[in-house]
Amino acid sequence: MEDRIREILSRCARLSVPVEALNDEDNLYDAGLSSLATVNVMLAIEEVFSVEFLDHLLTRRSFESISSLAAVIASLKSGALTF
């Protein structure tokens, strides 16, 4: 999952650091993620992982790192199964 997130970040996040240089725990805002680019990342994640973000997950925390995004996607996927 992290590889696909990395692919999305390199395509949509407009980071000024190459995604390959980032660890899964590195802070994406420190790497140059802006609030507007966050929106693009979110829409790409929805498309690639067939999930829909819930309102309460639209926080800075969700988009903080590759691993926080992976956790959010995992929770959305498991949530989708229960509905």
Binding site: S16, A37, T38
Partner: protein, 387 residues
């Protein structure tokens, strides 16, 4: 503290001074020194500064009202006042626990300091969320040089809030905001300000260089300040200025019609029906502004971690709607007054109002804002029907 009367009285006193000089400021394209003195004498520059920092602790609603009253007098003076208050709001929102900023705010109120913004930079394509310049650090001091295509009232400000990249290694979007004092700054003029409207804002281009203590860097990242404070307060206060200008134009149109009615009560001029449209526009603008101010004051206490997509979309929509409606209202007023509005030097002249308001759709281009807002609205998950 000396009692300076009610806020509205003080704003009106300052507005009378601004109105007396509005035409000469416009014709000569010069900074409204008399207006600024009037604002200082009436202690209006530090309004937003909280009591814990020695200020009167007024709300954004109060300041929006002052902007509207000033807008009815002189568009340039009102816009300068609004731009100054946006800087104050950014400092107030981030100063808690920061000793340098707290002391600066105390001084800003005591001495009625005028603060200017240095966000635009040559080479960033008008995107203020991106910086090229970065400070050079030496011990706990820093120096910065920035080439700005426009610093409104730059020559007349006591301090500047300047955006920059965090360091030479940081990406262009990793921005910090630094408070630079005029006494530590050097400005070299690079372009003149001779514009269609808002001529008194004296928005010349400058190369600015300054030195500062590292403590003068605001600890909150600029991305956060921009979306939580700068963007909403800008759109609310600019909108208030535009509403003020449109209100004055509509008042002139009404005075024109009243004058005509005195001469011939049976038949008002054909443009008279437009008065209803113009007044109705003012009413919609006021309602939308009030709603945005209420939402802003409520959101302050909520979770700063949440991405306020819906609110950002709302204040972006506010900016676009206010800029368009204000121009439309003045257009109605012009058609009501006819040649008396078109000419300079009549009691119904509307040229300055119309020229000033043509800045509204392009100070942060409406098309750029609309594109961003569309993305926000698509991403937003809350219902569009606000409960």
């Amino acid at each position: 503290m000396k009692d300076f009367g009610t806020l509205i009285d003080r704003a009106r006193t300052a507005a009378i001074i601004a109105a007396a000089h509005a035409d000469s400021v416009d014709i000569e394209s010069c900074f409204p020194h008399e207006s600024l003195e009037g604002l200082k004498q009436n202690r209006l520059l530090g309004l937003l500064i909280p009591e814990r920092f020695g200020g009167p602790g007024a709300t954004l609603r109060d300041v929006a009202l002052v902007c509207r009253i000033l807008g009815q007098a002189c568009g340039s003076s009102a816009l300068i006042y609004a731009m100054h208050q946006i800087q104050v709001a950014c400092l107030v929102a981030t100063a808690r626990g920061a000793a340098w900023q707290e002391a600066f705010l105390r001084r800003a109120n005591a001495d009625q300091l005028l603060l200017a913004s240095v966000t635009s930079e040559v080479g960033t394509g008008g995107n203020i969320r991106s910086s090229l310049c970065a400070p050079e650090y030496e011990g706990n001091r820093l120096t910065l040089r920035k080439r700005s295509p426009a610093i409104s009232y730059g020559e007349h400000a006591d301090a500047f809030l300047v955006t920059a990249r965090r360091s030479n290694e940081a990406p262009s979007s990793d921005q910090i905001l630094i408070v630079a004092e005029r006494t530590d700054s050097a400005l070299v003029e690079t372009s003149r300000w001779n514009a269609l409207g808002m001529r008194g804002t004296d928005s010349k281009g400058f190369d600015i260089s300054f030195s500062a203590n590292a403590a003068q860097i605001i600890s909150v990242p600029f991305d956060d300040i921009a979306q939580h404070t700068m963007l909403p307060t800008s759109h609310i206060l600019w909108g208030s200025v535009w509403l003020g200008i449109a209100t004055d134009a509509t008042e002139k149109a009404r005075a024109f019609l009243r004058n005509e009615a005195h001469h011939n009560a049976d038949a008002l001029p054909p443009g008279a029906v437009r008065l209803e449209k113009a007044v109705s526009m003012l009413s919609s603008m006021r309602a939308r502004l009030d709603s945005a101010v209420n939402e802003y004051l409520n959101i302050q206490i909520s979770d700063r971690e949440a991405l306020p997509l819906g609110f950002l979309a709302e204040v972006n929509g506010l900016k676009i709607a206010m800029s368009e409606a204000a121009l439309a209202a003045v257009h109605h007023a012009m058609l009501i007054c006819g040649i008396a509005g078109y000419k300079y030097g009549t009691p119904f002249s509307l040229g300055r109002h119309m020229r000033d308001l043509h800045s509204a759709p392009l100070m942060v281009n409406n098309d750029r804002i609309a594109a961003n807002t569309a993305a926000l609205l698509v991403a937003q998950r809350a219902s569009l029907m606000k409960e």
